[in-house]
Symmetry: C2
Subunit: 437 residues, 2 copies
């Protein structure tokens, strides 16, 4: 955890993303001595690894030893496999043991996020003894804000905050003043769930226990904030119809960018080919009334747009825990109403457009009113369908075990495009049969 | 800040979003006594206001006084204007004064987020005196993790963490061991910028100062985490082509949902009307070769999808501070390359589709190869154009002072649809003149 950093390092921070690997090393070494530590600690693990591996070997040990064991694991795992053993050798004996233990956990599980260095007290200590004991530990733990109360088997019995210790009478026992019900997470819980617990509880640190209740470490708020932000970024990228980048946009290579985007884009393209198949089926209608083709992009895009709105709201609601899978009937009910209302708004706009355009330019022939009605009714149907599809797809994805965020705006649009044009040509076929068709 | 909450309240938490206002009040009052406080504190301000106003007046004062002044302001501002004076009257004198001062700040400025209750020490104190003084303040401040060093004019001179005080020798002066360069924010800084400072610095609390350097309060990590999450939600909702809801999806009324979505949907619809205008211009081409219309949805949607990918990556990069406005030429260079690569992938897929389909069903006539080439070349052009538009639009929005997140996937798709069909008919016109056209 960074403590009260200074302002001057912010300048290099500003320019950092645009600098080459070499420039970063040079500029870093030019920083005033008292800025170096804070600056190094605010870098992400990949940047730390690149920087350390670029420094002369005599300087490396200094930086590696600055890191707490949980951050050291992250940095070493971010380094190339080739560099890892050398980096491990730079650690002191105690940290190396801790790092080995942490590295055994999956990177995105609670165990992979935690630090084994937490403040502990015994239940039978007095408050004054506990404060004195905390003072001794202050240099070696990630945070002293919470003191965890462990029994002789290292099982978590309770927790007390530093502030509560301060407020309690000095001669009371820790076991009398501690909270006995502690929110904790299991060491194999995935980071998304840990993030949700953290966001709901506003805790500075969450204790991690194994399946026997033995305390293994803590996850501090700064690591949790990174997880929550990472998860939001992943969701956003998936919602935009691309694979999660898992690295900053500016540092991702061109090949990486193409790879992460070509997959989904090709899938969407192949899905969208169905529109060509469907269109071929309506070729006669188009040949008979070319004017129908004129409004096609307008109608199908409206379905895609309304679907994009609905899927976005539902996916984000799910990520925040506001929308649960069992809420789907309520969501469906709401979205049917919303879809009808939005479809009516666009239908009226569409009808107005055709009537006004016709009265000015006379472009749509004798049956312009029937054409306008076809467009308006199709819009209601397409927007309603887009809204319902967009709102339900995240539930379907979740049920099937996929990430609901993959029900992206482009994915919904593709689904709705095919059905949208079927709706349009069906409505037009019914209304215009005998006149335009 | 919530301290070590208990587990049992989690059950009601689970069911909370689906409960009616009345059920919430009943169920809340049925909770075991020792769960009540923690549960109340984890609710959001709107829920707290609804709950308090629904309780008998004799019980209200208990809950209102549980809140720190910054949370009390939020709750009172979330209540209906009618209920606010009564809620204010429930506060004790000291808190009421603090709440009035805080309410004068804009809700989304640093001053509106801060709590005036922070731990303070004097520079001339010894470490032992400072620890004893902190211990006295422990009951009245939001956090004792950082002690702020203020001079007689209340100007912020430095900061020292509780841990550092613990580690320092007891007889040293605070001024000798404190950090003199403190990261602080101005009281009128907007919350998005405060969030960015916080995310970069990983601080437990950020001090807020006025333009004279006098310390006014602190913003703690739990409030910052809410801000960061709120800003991500706003961005995601805008990126999905809707106005930010500013409330949970499930509690937003139907009318509210329609209102927040109809605006952008209508704007997109009116923009998309340009496709009808453009299409009217190509009516003769369509009449001559209806097969051209068959591939139209496929081609324009590919532009929209690739634009959606690009705009999403750039918008999120900007929100994280990874992409700055001056990076636009580099982004443009990258996206031109990526767009050409992605366009080529889709172009090849499109050509294959037409050649294979023709060899199986013979549906595209003698000039199927020319048709295939028109589709393939158009795809390269449309995808390139979509990628470039999608990646540059957030920069344009930012430059114009709009939120880059409003360069949503649907917005980009709408822009690209019109130009996409112009590209398609132009390419087809060049390649097919004398054969199909």
């Amino acid at each position: 955890m960074t403590e009260a950093p200074t302002t001057a390092a912010l300048e290099l921070w500003e320019e950092w993303p645009a600098l080459s690997e070499e420039d970063r090393i040079t500029r870093f070494r030019e920083l005033p001595k008292h800025e170096l530590n804070d600056f190094f600690l605010t870098l992400d693990p990949t940047e730390q690894a690149a920087l350390v591996c670029g420094l002369p070997s005599s300087e490396r040990v200094l930086w590696v030893r600055l890191l707490d064991p949980d951050d050291a694991v992250d940095m070493i795992q971010a380094a190339s496999p080739h560099d890892r053993p050398a980096l491990m050798d730079l650690l002191d004996e105690k940290t190396r043991t801790e790092v080995r233990a942490l590295a055994a956990y999956e990177e995105d599980h609670a165990g992979g996020l935690m630090s084994p260095r937490f403040a502990r007290v015994r239940p039978e200590m007095t408050v004054d003894e506990a404060i004195a004991y905390l003072r001794k530990q202050a240099g070696q733990v990630e945070t002293i804000y919470y003191a965890y109360v462990l029994d002789a088997q290292q099982k978590l019995q309770g927790v007390i905050s530093c502030r509560e210790l301060f407020q309690a009478a000095g001669d009371r026992r820790v076991s009398e003043v501690m909270h006995a019900n502690v929110i904790s997470v299991l060491d194999d819980m995935d980071q998304e769930s840990v993030g949700r617990v953290w966001v709901e509880q506003d805790l500075l640190a969450i204790p991690v226990v194994d399946h026997d209740g033995r305390m293994k470490g803590i996850i501090t708020f700064d690591d949790m904030a990174d997880v929550v932000r990472e998860e939001a970024t992943e969701d956003i990228q998936k919602m935009g119809g691309t694979e999660a980048l898992a690295m900053p946009y500016m540092t991702a290579g061109i090949l990486e960018l193409v790879r992460k985007r070509a997959g989904w884009l090709s899938i969407l393209f192949i899905g969208e080919m169905l529109t060509a198949t469907a269109m071929a089926y309506y070729q006669d209608e188009i040949a008979a009334a070319v004017v129908l083709a004129v409004f096609l992009p307008l109608i199908i895009s409206s379905g895609g747009n309304s679907g994009s709105q609905a899927t976005t709201l539902v996916i984000r609601g799910m990520a925040l825990g506001e929308v649960r899978i069992r809420d789907w009937p309520r969501v469906l009910g709401r979205e049917v109403t919303v879809g009808l209302a939005l479809g009516t708004v666009l239908g009226v706009l569409g009808l107005l457009r055709i009537v006004l355009w016709h009265s000015v330019a006379g472009s749509y022939g004798d049956h312009y009113l029937l054409l306008g009605m076809s467009v308006a009714i199709s819009l209601v149907g397409v927007v309603l369908w887009g809204t319902v599809t967009g709102s339900m797809l995240p539930f379907v994805f979740r049920r099937l075990g996929f990430d609901p965020a993959s029900a992206s705006a482009p994915f919904v649009a593709t689904l709705v495009d095919v059905t949208g044009l079927v709706i349009y040509f069906t409505v037009a076929g019914l209304l215009l049969r005998g006149t335009l068709l």
